[in-house]
């Protein structure tokens, strides 16, 4: 907070009440304009208290954007923990989850040992949701954190709990009124000599109103006849503020008066801007001396470069400007807009352009910048600006902005309609704007298509992305880059979900790199998360790594529970399921569900249901699995065009139906598929499962032939593993044990690289695998792990770090450890050691934990590294 001016008195009684704020949780100062709230807060903040730090936010005028408010609050809270260094301001996001944001604020507050949140001008926050969330914040403040709020009128904050507990203090207008004694002190401090009667008159006329008294002081300070001034003032019936402002202005030198009037239409002013509006140099000097002389001009930072007028003061000056120089007002606004544009402050520029009545100009500015502003998290501000445009004459440039706004709010049909209008306009637009408009339209079309899950015909939007990022100014390049990064993200996403996979990876990687270059972490996370999903067909290790990278970056910015990271969360869950880490899979599914609380479209929810179904199936809960797959299938049918997950969803559905004995329904579904879909490997496998359930292993063999010889299209090699296992089961049923063993061996070989467990778990291959002669298989460790899982124990997740043993293994654990490199299963180990299987399980769990291994193979490897298996050990 900028320090208080020299002429304010110490209102000790009030300061004492505020000191009491450290005793109560929340203090509210509720009093009309000009009562002296801000001055009091500033005087109080000036007095250092070693026990508490201050985090001060002054709400911007007409703040419609709740996100901006919370970001400002978050930033000052962070800054308060490191007062000496500059903290990066918090980054906004296009999709705003207010609840999650307030949770973030609360968790940052929890780290503080003594903080007072000061929120001034709270009445300017025009957002109903924000008030509700603010109530939640205030009633859940951690210990040692207090709040002081200042507002012009009472707000619907439901703080009854605090009031009942005696934790709420209030300072109201009556408390802030200057007493006669304080009036005299104020006059004394300003060096004004008045008789006792005059002081009483002054006090009575102003009714102790702070703003009135301060205005009077300005006029009285160098007045030749203060007594007469007071007499005339008291004798007048005119409204106090108007009278005194007029007096004050009259007494100013012409250049000062001119400056005050002309700059009154700015929300904040600096010397350069004031010079521009007055057409004269030297404004900075004037502003500085105004601040020194009175409390109505306040600098906004320690460098005293920017200033703000007291709002009431500015409002009255503005009215005076409109009556005395009405023809100049639009020109002043235009000049201000020009300056703000040059200095990259787009929102101010748009507001002033609107105020100048230049609606087409404002529309162009908004259309050019709304994209970047939305990425900055200013979606609600843009809404407010849109609503300021007069109804009726609808500028086609605004169609683009409205389309964006609709998209952000999930109104897809309206967005499409506005986009159609914008597209028509692009042809007729002036040539210098055409390219940018084209890219913007293409980018929005991609966004819309992605949200609708409509992938067909959109891929040729990529054409306009291939042209290089041209541009005249830095700003142009920045705008183009934003558009391009979003377009790449959407294009890559669309490609990933409709099976153009190599292109998807390329575009998403390019998008992530560009986003990093232009400092858009939100887009970077979005691209990386989608890249995680697109990596599904790669070795699972790659997919896992990419997902974890995306999640780590998201968490660094506090976005670990946002919808954009959901693709990475659910893909990671899927990877865990495939490698047999069922408990981990469940955890990641939970996180995905939490992140998807705000609806983000059918495609990601489809994947969530698919993965949830797979997990149920792995655990043998086929009924629950069927439910999930049915929901997924329903979602798939709603999506237009081909879908990357289509064959998997249908395949799983059919397979589960068969496993539940519903072969009739399964056959019916199968028959309803068109030839293209029926040819896919996943459907073939499902058909084989149906045949096996119907007791026809020969038919099953025939069906999977295409998959095994590579002619059937497959999503990934895992389908081939499944096919091998199904063939093995079929051979077993036909009595051909040798062929069964060969098929099982093939499956193991394919699964070795990624250590896949799931295919074996799903196909009920326990007997098939157990029939494999142990000494004939080259995949002993994997086999043993699979059998462990099939018999109920879940693999423990762990990282692959190679730190030394944290805790010694007990003698019994060592005994068990020495059996791990063999092919013996756990029940067999138990019988060798004459202990129960449960005991073996416990020992194995401990061994894995102590060796930081996640499966038998890595445990054996670690044990070898640590030389725990040496033959010399006799314990």
């Amino acid at each position: 907070m900028a320090p208080a001016g020299p002429r304010l008195i110490d209102r000790n009684d009030l300061l004492a009440v505020l000191d009491g704020a450290t005793a109560r949780k929340v203090t509210i100062i509720s009093a009309p304009a000009g009562s002296g709230k801000t001055s009091l807060l500033r005087a109080w903040a000036d007095r250092p208290d070693p026990r508490y730090r201050l985090a001060v936010v002054q709400v911007q005028r007409d703040e419609h954007d709740a996100q901006q408010f919370w970001l400002a609050l978050l930033s000052v809270v962070r800054q308060a923990s490191v007062p000496t260094s500059r903290v990066e301001p918090a980054v906004g996001t296009p999709e705003f989850n207010e609840q999650a944001m307030v949770d973030r604020v609360l968790s940052e507050l929890a780290d503080h040992r003594g903080l007072i949140l000061v929120i001034d001008d709270l009445h300017e926050l025009i957002s109903p949701d924000a008030i509700a969330q603010l109530t939640r914040l205030l009633t859940n403040l951690p210990p040692h954190v207090h709040a002081v709020l200042a507002t012009r009128h009472d707000l619907p904050l439901r703080l009854h709990q605090l009031r009942l507990a005696g934790e709420l203090a209030e300072i109201r207008a009556a408390d802030l009124r200057f007493s006669e004694r304080e009036t005299r002190e104020l006059l004394d401090a300003a060096g004004i000599v008045l008789s006792g009667a005059a002081v009483a008159l002054l006090h009575q006329r102003t009714e102790g109103w702070a703003a009135g008294l301060r205005l009077a002081v300005i006029s009285l300070a160098d007045h030749p006849d203060p007594e007469r001034f007071v007499a005339e003032f008291s004798g007048s019936d005119r409204m106090v503020a108007e009278y005194l402002i007029a007096e004050m202005l009259e007494r100013q030198p012409d250049d000062v008066k001119d400056l005050l009037l002309r700059t009154s239409l700015l929300a904040r002013v600096n010397g350069e801007l004031a010079d521009l509006l007055t057409g004269r140099p030297g404004s900075e000097r004037i502003l500085l001396s105004l601040e020194d002389a009175n409390a109505f001009v306040v600098s906004l930072d320690a460098e005293r470069a920017w200033f703000r007028y007291h709002r009431l003061f500015a409002d009255l000056l503005r009215l005076e400007l409109r009556s005395t120089l009405p023809e100049e007002v639009p020109a002043l606004h235009r000049q201000a807009a020009g300056w703000f544009i040059q200095h990259g402050q787009v929102l101010d520029a748009i507001r002033h352009t609107q105020a100048a009545g230049d609606w087409p100009g404002a529309a162009r500015l908004l259309a050019d910048h709304s994209f970047s502003l939305t990425l900055d998290g200013q979606a609600q501000t843009i809404q407010a600006l849109l609503q300021a445009f007069p109804r009726g004459a609808d500028d086609p440039e605004l169609a683009l902005v409205r389309a964006e706004s609709d998209l952000v709010q999930g109104r897809l049909d309206e967005a499409a309609a506005h986009l159609a209008v914008a597209e028509k306009y692009v042809q007729a637009a002036p040539p210098d704007r055409q390219r940018r408009l084209q890219v913007a339209v293409a980018s929005l079309k991609l966004s819309l298509a992605r949200r609708r899950g409509n992938f067909a015909g959109v891929l040729d939007q990529a054409k306009c992305l291939d042209s290089p990022v041209g541009g005249r100014s830095d700003q142009d390049i920045a705008l183009d880059s934003d558009l391009r990064a979003v377009a790449l993200m959407n294009l890559g996403t669309v490609e990933a979900w409709s099976l153009g996979l190599p292109d998807a990876e390329r575009h998403l990687r390019e998008g992530a790199a560009l986003a990093r270059r232009i400092g858009r972490p939100y887009l970077e996370v979005a691209c990386l998360a989608q890249l995680g999903f697109a990596s599904k067909i790669r070795p699972f290790a790659t997919a896992r790594r990419r997902c974890q990278e995306a999640i780590a970056l998201a968490e660094r910015h506090g976005w670990g529970a946002e919808p954009i990271v959901a693709p990475a969360l659910v893909t990671l869950a899927g990877v865990m399921a495939w490698t047999g880490e069922f408990d981990e899979c469940e955890r990641w599914l939970q996180r995905t569900k939490q992140a998807l609380q705000t609806d983000t479209g059918p495609d990601i929810r489809l994947l969530l249901h698919l993965t949830a179904g797979i997990l149920h199936a792995c655990r043998g809960r086929h009924r629950e699995a069927l439910q999930e797959f049915s929901v997924a299938e329903h979602l798939r049918s709603q999506l237009a065009g081909s879908h990357a997950l289509a064959s998997q969803v249908t395949g799983w559905l059919l397979t589960t139906q068969a496993r539940l004995g519903m072969t009739g329904e399964a056959r019916a579904c199968l028959a309803a598929l068109d030839d293209d879909r029926a040819r896919s490997g996943e459907i073939r496998n499902a058909c084989a499962v149906i045949c096996l359930a119907e007791g026809d292993p020969a038919a099953a063999l025939r069906v999977v032939e295409d998959v095994l010889d590579g002619t059937a299209p497959v999503v990934g090699y895992v389908t081939v593993v499944m096919a091998d296992l199904l063939a093995g089961l079929a051979y077993r049923q036909l009595g051909d044990q040798r062929a069964a063993n060969q098929a099982a061996e093939r499956a193991l070989a394919l699964a070795e690289a990624d250590r896949l467990i799931l295919p074996f778990a799903i196909t009920g291959s326990a007997e098939l695998l157990e029939a494999l002669p142990r000494h004939e298989t080259a995949h002993a460790a994997l086999l043993a792990d699979i059998l462990d899982v099939l018999h109920g124990s879940s693999l423990v997740a762990g990282d692959q770090s190679s730190s030394p043993l944290t805790e010694e293994l007990s003698p019994t654990e060592l005994r068990v450890l020495r059996y791990l490199p063999t092919n013996l299963s756990r029940p067999e180990i138990a019988s060798e050691l004459s202990i129960s299987v449960n005991t073996v399980n416990t020992h194995v769990r401990n061994i894995y934990a102590k060796l930081q291994a996640r499966d038998r193979t890595s445990a054996v490897q670690r044990a070898r590294e640590l030389r725990l298996l040496s033959a010399g050990l006799t314990r």
Partner: protein
């Protein structure tokens, strides 16, 4: 709730000069003693807009009163039947 504009009289403390009055172009001012009464036809939204402006300028709001329609209008509703 009546959506049509209605005649309101808003009493403010003190005499309002030309500058402050310019903030209320839709209202007609009259001095009543030491106060100013602003009268005009306002629907609900306009009324609350005016009240917000009154708050913003720190004016002393004394009274807000809805006036009966003018006696000249035939729908006056008072039963002065012949």
């Amino acid at each position: 709730m009546d959506p049509a504009p209605v005649l309101y009289a808003i009493r403010i403390q003190g005499h309002l000069g030309a500058t402050v009055l310019s903030a209320f172009p839709a209202l007609v001012p009259r001095h009543h003693g030491a106060d100013t009464v602003l009268t005009g036809l306002l629907d609900r939204s306009a009324l609350y807009g005016v009240l917000a402006e009154v708050e913003a300028l720190g004016l002393g709001l004394l009274e807000v009163r809805q006036l009966p329609p003018h006696r000249e209008s035939p729908e006056s509703g008072d039963c002065r039947s012949p």
